[in-house]
Symmetry: C2
Subunit: 118 residues, 2 copies
DNA sequence: ATTTGACTTGGAGTGCGCTCTAAGGTCCAA
DNA sequence: TTGGACCTTAGAGCGCACTCCAAGTCAAAT
């Protein structure tokens, strides 16, 4: 799979795919005979998970750490699980906060609809 | 109220308060006889609302637009309401997306707990 | 009187996450 | 076999939202 196809399927730009590889988020994407990247299905699955970590607000540095642990093998599974558990709590807290803020927005909007100054 | 007190109460830094004033997010904070900022209760309320817009992901530029409309008076109320409604939908969508992603995290964590490689 | 410390301003610097450029190599269709 | 659209790399640049700095002012404490 070419970088353009991988970009298409992952929703990331080709630039970003190269960047992610450079900083160690994706290890060793295969190269074809002319040195061009050749993405495997497995790479796409990993990218999909990385994208979920990103969109849920995990910093790139943490993702790099997670990727590094993953490369180190199964004996790092506990640390990886702990990272995910910690992140899960942050995401959960973020959802709770956004839900609270949404109420404030609704209240504000309602005031505008009633013609009151807000 | 001094800038430090306002910082304390708003949760923003004094630097950020000056920055927000400079870019037009906060208009005309009062000055005391020696030229120091003197925040009013009203300023704090506005800051609190601004902070909600920020933490829910509204870009500074949009907040500036909202602040500008607010300064222009009541005839801009409709446009302000529309901005909030649009923002509300984005926040709502973000909550939905995060909730989905949370499920994926939970699934991943569960796999780790079962001792499977993920 | 002088030191300390918080304030003022305009402007420069920072960290993050990309995003793009330059210079060159490769592929493919006409 | 030539043109154009890809690809490669290292490295520079960008947009956002702050964050800090320098130089100066001012009030209170010593």
């Amino acid at each position: 799979m070419t970088i353009q196809e991988a970009a298409q399927r992952s929703g990331l730009s080709a630039h970003t795919l190269r960047y992610y590889e450079r900083i160690g988020l994706i290890r060793s994407v295969g190269r074809n005979s002319s040195g061009h990247r050749d993405y495997a299905e497995e790479d796409l699955q990993w990218l999909e998970f990385l994208t979920k970590l990103r969109t849920t607000g995990m910093p790139i540095a943490d993702m790099c750490r997670y990727a590094e642990l993953r490369r180190m093998g199964q004996h790092t599974a506990d640390e990886r699980r702990e990272m995910l558990e910690l992140h899960r709590e942050r995401v959960s807290a973020r959802i709770a906060q956004l839900s609270q803020d949404l109420k404030v927005l609704d209240y504000k909007i309602d005031n505008y609809r009633r013609g009151q100054l807000a």
